[in-house]
């Protein structure tokens, strides 16, 4: 079985985000970029499945400009067997990404597709769901536990009400949550080994997918600065303060 893992290049989670002064986007000039942390967890899970003998090959896929090869190489250094870049200069929206991934699925015929539950840049949380629908296969989102059992997978999902366990037939799309596992560190020699692993570049047009959008971005703005909190003596003062602020 092959496992396909999606990898997105995002601003590193440690970086303090700065919005461009004209509100047209986020400043990425000279900013550290990384693999979306949820995607790292998805990849870690795929590697563990492979290393336990339940899959033969782990393929990492990313859609983006040539910069995203850096993140694909990181995926290879973590242990993926090969990488595919869906080459596009456009900033793909979830639906286009899902359509492009579907084309890769048709080529590769994976038994499992693992994606992060969302990317920490746009927080869309849509690609996995859309991909499952387009592919017409089962989906399990927000996985915090995953067990494979021949032709099906048992997935524990983190939902608002707590945990939910479901079973899905394979092939399926599973999106992963934070607590699924702790991704491994990349070691330096792995970086050199990764250079020799195959990385295929496929232009988006070649897949017959258009980079079209049904979402429109108005503008970017930083969240308002949090005001300093105060300590209240008792419940009465709390109610008082809330009233003063017109909150109750």
């Amino acid at each position: 079985m092959k496992i396909l893992v999606g990898i997105k290049r995002v601003v590193d989670y440690n970086v303090r985000i700065r919005v461009l002064s004209d509100g047209s986007g986020v400043d990425t000039d000279g900013v550290k970029m990384s693999v979306n942390p949820f995607d790292e967890i998805a990849l870690e899970e795929a590697l563990r499945i492979r290393d336990a003998g339940n899959a033969e090959e782990v393929i990492v896929v990313s859609a983006g400009g040539d910069e995203c090869q850096q993140q694909l190489r990181t995926g290879l250094a973590m242990g993926a067997d090969r990488a595919i870049q869906i080459q596009t200069s456009a900033d793909l929206q979830p639906l286009s990404t899902a359509r492009a991934f579907l084309k890769i699925i048709e080529r590769e015929d994976p038994g499992l597709v693992l994606l992060g539950k969302q990317a920490i840049d746009d927080d869309n949380s849509q690609t996995a769901q859309m991909l499952a629908a387009l592919w017409d296969r089962p989906q399990a989102t927000f996985a915090s536990k995953l067990e494979l059992d021949g032709q099906s997978a048992t997935v524990t999902r983190e939902v608002d009400a707590g945990l939910e366990t479901i079973e899905v037939d394979l092939p399926a799309v599973i999106s992963v949550d934070l607590r699924l596992n702790e991704p491994r560190f990349v070691k330096l020699p792995d970086i050199m080994k990764a250079k020799r692993k195959p990385l295929d570049v496929i232009p988006l047009e070649e897949l017959g997918v258009a980079a079209e959008g049904n979402l429109e971005v108005g503008h970017y703005a930083p969240p308002p600065q949090r005001e300093k909190g105060i300590m209240v003596e008792d419940a009465a003062q709390l109610v008082e303060e809330l009233k003063n602020r017109g909150l109750i």
């Binding site: 850096q70 330096l188 020699p189 970086i191 250079k195």
Partner: protein, 580 residues
Amino acid sequence: MPDKETTSFMRSLCMGQIEQEVLFPFPALTADQKETLHEIASAVDDLLVPRAEDFRHWDVAGEMPADFIEELSQFGLFGLIIPEAYGGMGLSNMSYSRTLQQVGRHDASVAVTIGAHSSIGMRGLLLLGTEEQKQRYMPGLATGERIAAFCLTEAGAGSDAAAIKTTAEKQDDHWLLNGSKLWITNGGIANFFTVFARTKQEDGSGKMTAFIVTSDMQGVSIGPHEDKMGLRASSTTTVLLDNVKVPPENVLGEPGKGFKVAMQILNSGRTGLGGGSVGGMKHLIELATAQANERKTFGEPISSYGLIKEKVGRMVVDCYTSEAVVTMVGGLIDAGYKEYAVEAAISKVYATECLWRSADEALQIAGGNGYMREYPYERIVRDSRINRIFEGTNEILRLFIALTAMNDVACQLQELASTMKDVFNDPIKGFGVLSDYAREHATLRTGLGGSAKLQDLDEAIAPQAETFETETRYLAQAADRILRKHGKNIIGKQFATKRLAEIMIDLFVLASTLSRVQTSIECNGVEAASREIDILRVFTREARARMKQNFRRIDNNDDELLKALADDAFEVERFRWDTI
């Protein structure tokens, strides 16, 4: 193209020749190297960021736990410069330097542990080892199963390295080593030592030879961990050699050529310390800017005040120019230039002094907090102090920089050549040996291909290029004048020598920065490079003022007065005056 065997940018410059092709375009990493470095940097951050608190504790404790060193090995940090064929990363000099920069941002003790291994401990093996020696030791050194140390210094031989007393006696089927080495970085964790000892030559003279010594050899022992000012978590110990039998196949390089081996190692390893220094400066800029934005006095953040901006602005200039020289030297080495000893010495002096200044100013910006141990500043100040002392003190390197150039000039001056013949290899003067090392290569090509002008630089940096050309002409005249003035006595004229060294340092930093900015303009356009051009402007104006001052002081100075005051203090060994 300049001949890479014989061309040295700075040595030619002292004769008024600008070998522009050597420094232009600014050395660039290939796309592939850049990508690899991005990944290395990111992996290094992932490994070291979560350790920030530990580094603070280990500084206080004065030791790094063994399992962390094991973690560094596992991670692969000991294999940076070892060719891939032996299981290492095979990084170029530039990439190695950039990697140490990344490590140096997090902790100087870790950077020095890695640096002492790669920059000096095992570099002799890499540069001069036989295939058989490499096969035997490289794989273990790459994984960190073997950690390396460089053992030159002794109680009576620091700067004057030629004075070492450790002996190596040739016996039937081995060499017998006896002596004790002082302040050896990684001493307590290493099991591969590059040891320098004095060997009796057939002609009876005592020359230096380099040996590979391993800790499993009988008679090798290690002293206690030194209690140091800084780099407290890095291991520094004595290494004692008591009748150690070393097999002949463990001689490194040619017997009797040990001094040259030591110098080759130190020269080639300089970009490690330089990279670590640049990394330290980048970290300090992050700390100081965040601190200054946060701290308010008189109702405003201190980042709004001119005196704070002056400090931070200088830190930026220092960091950019240091990175320019350190990268330049790495680039020269990678490009195959052989005569880079003077340039490498300049990069060491300049980058370590910029780091020192930045650390001091960042602490000042933090005010009283800067002095407190719970903040990182005082530790960074303590950690960076050593850089001006080890791998050649900055004084000795200044003498080396200027005397090497004057030796070349002296060779050029027909009328002086014969009287100067023996001046530069008088070993009693300590650094004579250094100059001797440089002179062995002194088939230097001089005054041929270079020009007195920089060609094809962008108009936006023309004034700075012109300053460089003008001061270069003065440099050549000054070297000539100093030599004619002092003749044979130049060796004893350290004030004059130092002035020449300062000018050479400023000019090489200026040339490297011109190259970096010019290349940035070519790649990104004047608009995008405007801040870099500003950096160049600030540096050039200050360097020009310093150079003018140094030129002026060649003939007009208080050297003799100062020396007399010092001599008087030496005589009484106290301060003479008091108010009571």
